[in-house]
């Protein structure tokens, strides 16, 4: 595989929780208005991984979601498509079929999502199957049990082997930060996942509270920045879970823009994992177009 892939705990710098909270509070005071707001909201749509991860998911639900992903608002066909549709493995083939001809990607959660409790060979098989069925991106979970027991090498090995099973398919590594307990641990997990071959690091499954938060996201972005300083390689970031409105999404983009800068303001390097965010962003955008009138949710499709 590629250059040196190793992970040294001693290389992980400490994180000051109070300082992180102050920083995100300060960034939260940025005022995003007018054309910048409009541009960023459109960018936010193009960065979305439209997600359905329910036990009750059906084929019909996935097909609906694919339609919404390609054309989020039929009254405004000029709005961008979302980045990807994120589903459980049994729906990969179906999603792939219904997204054909569009540039919306199919992302599949795998590796015994969301707990990660399964033998490694099962996880690898699951990933291979998703890849064979046409998934463009794999969202794996780390074994938090092993991580919290400081068995970092085991977590590293798992990620590296999953990465190998992915081949050219993009790998997003879910840290499930809500279970890690401290920002220091978030930093260690981020560095570990990146050094083991993650293309993206992702905050959460959405099944554990708290899911994505701004402090956690900032710490992960700092890990990505240090990796860039060290290697010149750009790793992507995906906050997922709990981002429900435009204002919050804009705060995330501010944190991104002022931490990693211009190069990361693209769906290739930043994603929102969300299900209900899209309609709120659409309402805000349509408000712009319709001369400032607030919109009602009944005018947007619930999928």
């Amino acid at each position: 595989m590629t250059e040196q892939m190793n992970f040294n705990l001693i290389d992980c710098p400490p994180v000051d929780e109070v300082g992180v909270q102050e920083r995100v509070a300060r960034l939260g005071k940025r005022s995003i208005k007018k054309q910048v707001k409009e541009e960023w909201l459109k960018l936010a749509i193009s960065m979305m991984d439209l997600t359905t991860l329910e036990g009750k998911d059906s084929e019909g639900k996935v097909i609906q979601l694919c339609r919404k992903a390609i054309c989020p608002d039929p009254n405004h066909p000029e709005f961008p498509s979302v980045a990807a549709v994120c589903v459980y493995p049994p729906f990969v083939k179906l999603a792939k079929k219904h997204l054909q001809g569009s540039n919306v990607k199919v992302a599949s959660v795998a590796t015994a999502f969301p707990s990660g409790h399964a033998p490694l060979n099962h996880k690898i098989d699951e990933v291979r199957q998703c890849v064979d069925n046409g998934a463009d991106e794999i969202d794996m979970v780390i074994s938090r049990g092993a991580f919290l027991a400081s068995e970092y090498y085991r977590v590293f090995d798992e990620i590296a082997q999953i990465k190998q099973a992915c081949g050219d398919v993009h790998l997003k590594v879910i840290l499930e930060t809500g279970e890690l307990g401290s920002l220091d641990q978030v930093r260690i997990a981020s560095d570990l996942a990146i050094s083991a071959g993650a293309d993206f690091i992702k905050t959460s499954t959405g099944k554990v509270q708290p899911a994505a938060t701004l402090p956690v996201t900032l710490v992960m972005l700092e890990s990505i920045r240090d990796h860039y300083y060290k290697t010149g390689k750009k790793i992507g970031m995906k906050p997922a879970g709990g981002i429900r409105d435009s204002k919050t999404a804009l705060h995330y983009l501010v944190v991104l823009a002022e931490t990693l800068g211009d190069a990361w303001m693209t769906p290739d390097l930043f994603r929102f994992g969300a299900s209900s965010l899209l309609n709120d962003v659409l309402m805000q955008l349509v408000k712009f177009e319709d001369g400032g009138w607030y919109q009602g949710i009944d005018y947007f499709t619930a999928d």
Binding site: Y152, Y153, A160, V254
Partner: protein
């Protein structure tokens, strides 16, 4: 197949700290143009009513100057005149002091609880009008609305609330002592935090039963006139607080007035020394809060990204117009390249511009004279052989602005490491051992502030005990609270403001 092995988590050289040294030249720097393109988000000042001319506030009323002499106050973000102010001469100073002297007879005899009522009332009105006051403060001083709204005004109100609480508890503040007030307190305040410095001085003076004659700096006399309106609104008895405006000559008249019983000054060390000479041999107690050249020490076990944020807050807060600014960065040698790289990237995201824009991080330099002084020092630094780095942020075409600036390759003997520049200019030195850091930090005529950044608690106690400065922050910087005393060692001043210590400067104990 590649796997991490057990060996890979055993101790290795700390190459994370060396990363930027190795790779700095190969990897293109990050670019941050996007954060410079935020749409303007100005706080409206349309509803603020500013008079064309202001006189003094004496005996509870706004009065005109007797001599007719005036001066302009400039909005530093545009260079335009905001208003004309009366320049107090001897007769005006006499009138203010005699008004305070007369009011003292009644004010000092009020019960502490009654004085507290007025102070609580003032504090509440400040809170109610805080947005208006924050905007006025920005317009006259050039500071950003982000800071005046979120730092200055909340602290102004907090100081009045805090000392209001002490007014009826003086005997508990100084147990076993008989507490009495001093008389007329003369107070001279600087232009960097006009309202906050007024609050620091007026609130404890009134709580203890003194009356006040206060003179704001000649570049920032506006916001205290709004405070005077609030005193009227709170029905503070006439003459308890008197405000006169003018330059150093007015200050001199006030300091040498025979009827003052206490002097409190915040400003430059140069003027502080003059005041000390003037008051030597008199029985007038004085407190002086003067200059500083604070050292901010970053150890290699500190959280690097949060330390960088702390450096930014230490030197670029209020355009660097802060007596306790962390203007000398001392960084452990091994992490210096990393910290400097991160610092430069962070500086690119600092927005310099209109103080009233909610997104502005660094506002206008307070005056043309101060901007000239800063630019002179930047030139001196270059001629001394230090390496200059300034962010690429665009500057507005009008008004007085300075880009965030840092100097590397500086020596202890450089003028830029010795002089208080009082602007957004940081010098960076490295050290190898804690002893070297302490020696460099203390090797200055000043001793006002300091900062220590490390992940080790024991180190915090060891280093902070060894640094000769009045206030030292650990893993943070520029945090203020009315309950905490503030003041300096050596040429940074005498006495403390804030907390019970601040109260003791305004009482006689027997």
């Amino acid at each position: 197949m590649v796997v991490g092995t057990k060996e890979s988590i055993t101790l290795q050289p700390i190459n994370w700290f060396l990363m930027s040294k190795k790779q700095n030249n190969i990897i293109p720097p990050l670019s941050y143009s996007v954060s410079k393109s935020y749409a303007p988000a100005p706080e409206s000042s349309a509803h603020i009513h500013i008079e064309k001319e202001y006189g003094f506030f004496i005996d509870g009323n706004f009065s005109k100057s007797t001599s007719g002499k005036q001066f302009d106050s400039i909005n530093p973000s545009s260079g335009d005149v905001i208003a004309r102010f009366a320049h107090a001469q001897k007769a005006d100073v006499d009138a203010a002091v005699s008004s305070a002297k007369e009011a003292y007879q009644r004010w000092s005899k009020l019960s502490g609880a009654q004085r507290g009522l007025y102070l609580f009332r003032i504090a509440r009105i400040i809170q109610e009008r805080s947005r208006e006051l924050a905007i006025v403060e920005c317009m006259d001083s050039g500071k950003t609305i982000r800071e005046s709204r979120d730092v200055d005004l909340p602290l102004v109100a907090a100081h009045f609330f805090y000392y209001a609480g002490w007014a009826d508890k003086l005997h508990y503040a100084f147990p076993g002592k008989k507490v009495s007030s001093l008389g007329v307190a003369a107070q001279i305040i600087p232009w960097n935090f006009p309202l906050l410095m007024a609050a620091w001085k007026i609130a404890p003076a009134l709580a203890a039963g003194n009356t006040v004659v206060i003179k704001p700096a000649e570049t920032t006399p506006l916001s205290i006139m709004f405070l005077a309106q609030i005193f009227q609104e709170a029905e503070l008895p006439a003459g308890v607080v008197n405000i006169i405006t003018g330059d150093g000559s007015t200050g001199e008249l006030l300091v040498s007035h025979p009827d003052i019983q206490k002097l409190a000054f915040t400003g430059s060390t140069e003027v502080g020394k003059k005041i000390m000479r003037k008051l030597a041999g008199t029985s007038i107690p004085y407190t002086l809060e003067l200059g500083g050249k604070g050292a901010n020490i970053i150890f290699d076990d500190a959280a690097p990204d949060q330390a960088v944020e702390g450096i930014i807050n230490a030197i670029f807060f209020n355009q660097g117009h802060v007596c306790c600014a962390g203007s000398r960065l001392l960084v452990q040698e091994g992490i210096a390249p990393t910290i400097i790289q991160k610092l430069r990237d962070r500086m690119e995201t600092l927005i310099v511009g209109d103080p009233l824009d909610k997104n502005t991080d660094i506002g206008a330099i307070n005056s043309k004279a101060q901007l000239d002084k800063i630019n002179d020092h930047i030139k001196i630094g270059q001629s001394e052989g230090a390496t200059l780095y300034q962010s690429s942020n665009p500057l507005p075409s009008r008004g007085f602005y300075c880009r965030p600036t840092l100097f590397t390759d500086v020596a202890q003997s450089h003028k830029i490491t010795q002089d208080e520049i009082f602007g957004p200019v940081l010098t960076i030195q490295t050290f190898r051992t804690p002893d070297e850091a302490i020696e460099k930090a203390n090797n200055t005529p000043y001793g006002l502030s300091g900062g220590v950044w490390t992940d080790k608690g024991a180190k915090i106690f060891k280093i902070t005990s060894a640094i000769k400065a009045g206030v030292i922050w650990a893993n943070t910087f520029n945090k203020f609270d009315p309950t905490s005393p503030f003041g300096g060692y050596k040429e940074s001043g005498l006495g403390r403001e804030g907390g019970v210590h601040g109260l003791s400067a305004y009482v006689k104990l027997s």
